[in-house]
Subunit: 183 residues, 2 copies
């Protein structure tokens, strides 16, 4: 009955309100995409497992609009399990970074390719940063409505900080690679 990492977001989101699998998917894509990826092929099996473990329960939604929709709510056991997970030290594993792997082995290929990759990464990061700024503006307005928004903004600021750092690394690296080429 160990709580799987991939089930945490489901449990967490169900503290907001009862939801169906499909709604959970939407919320994850909308709210967690910046620091969490879910395997949606596993979503329904995970819901089934959580149900069997008694951490969530199926409710008959009053507003169930006649669709073949299953709505789940978190149980007290579920809340306990989530709280327990929250107090546990997070496991951080070094993430795989393909761009860095390419930079590391750059001398085995054409450095012009690597330069392109870095320019692309910079452009992507700029776009991401703009997106974050937009979300931040919206969250700022929400802070009066819900205390949760404070925490959401913290995660967003993490993304902004890391993205800015990425952009300046790209700048430095691009410059160095360009200098090398003209030599």
């Amino acid at each position: 009955m160990t709580l799987k990492r991939s089930s945490i977001p489901l449990l967490g989101l169900l503290t907001w309100r009862p939801m169906s699998g499909y709604e959970l998917k939407q919320e994850i894509e909308g709210s967690l995409e910046n620091f969490w990826s879910e395997s949606f092929g596993q979503l329904y099996p995970h819901l089934r497992d959580l149900h069997h473990a008694g951490l969530i329960e199926e409710i008959d939604d009053a507003a169930n609009d006649s669709r073949s929709k299953r709505t789940y709510a978190i149980t007290d056991d579920g809340r306990r399990a989530l709280r327990h997970w929250l107090s546990d030290a997070p496991k951080t594993r070094p993430p795989r970074n393909e761009l860095l792997l390419k930079v590391f082995f750059a001398s085995e290929g054409d450095t012009a390719d690597i330069l392109l990759h870095c320019r692309q990464a910079r452009a992507d990061a700029m776009a991401t940063l703009e997106k974050y700024k937009g979300i931040d503006a919206r969250l700022k307005g929400l802070t009066k409505e819900t205390a949760k928004a404070r925490y959401w903004r913290m995660t967003l600021r993490f993304g902004m900080s890391q993205t800015r750092s990425l952009i300046s690394w790209c700048d430095a690296t691009i410059e160095e690679l360009e200098n090398e080429q003209t030599n």
Copy 2:
């Protein structure tokens, strides 16, 4: 005959010199650990696959010290495959970050726990940064020996940049969480 992501480091490292599985493992742990994790239970199967695909070949090492050691060298096909991979756009997927997931759902648990996690993350990051500085100093000396060291330093600077960004995020977040608690 698609080149698996996990096989790339093996191919890349074999451009340095012929190596055995065990040596590859050491090199990966020593050189790539900051941006790449390998599943060492897959290492030997991957070597076998690369061998079957003709991207590496087994050589009888002259210096083979009578141990039951298999030494592999990269082939021309292997170099081609690596170069091809290098020119391909890197696939970046949003990495999972458990710390952020905990911050995101902080309101469902005890924020004192989250504060602890952030303090721990900061301490870890400080240690990482010190480690990086040490490696950078060593790499600095290597740049005259091998041109590759330039690229290695780029990856290291990425790590330093991201780690510094993480530290300042931790500082800001810790402060915000502390203020909240005294209220």
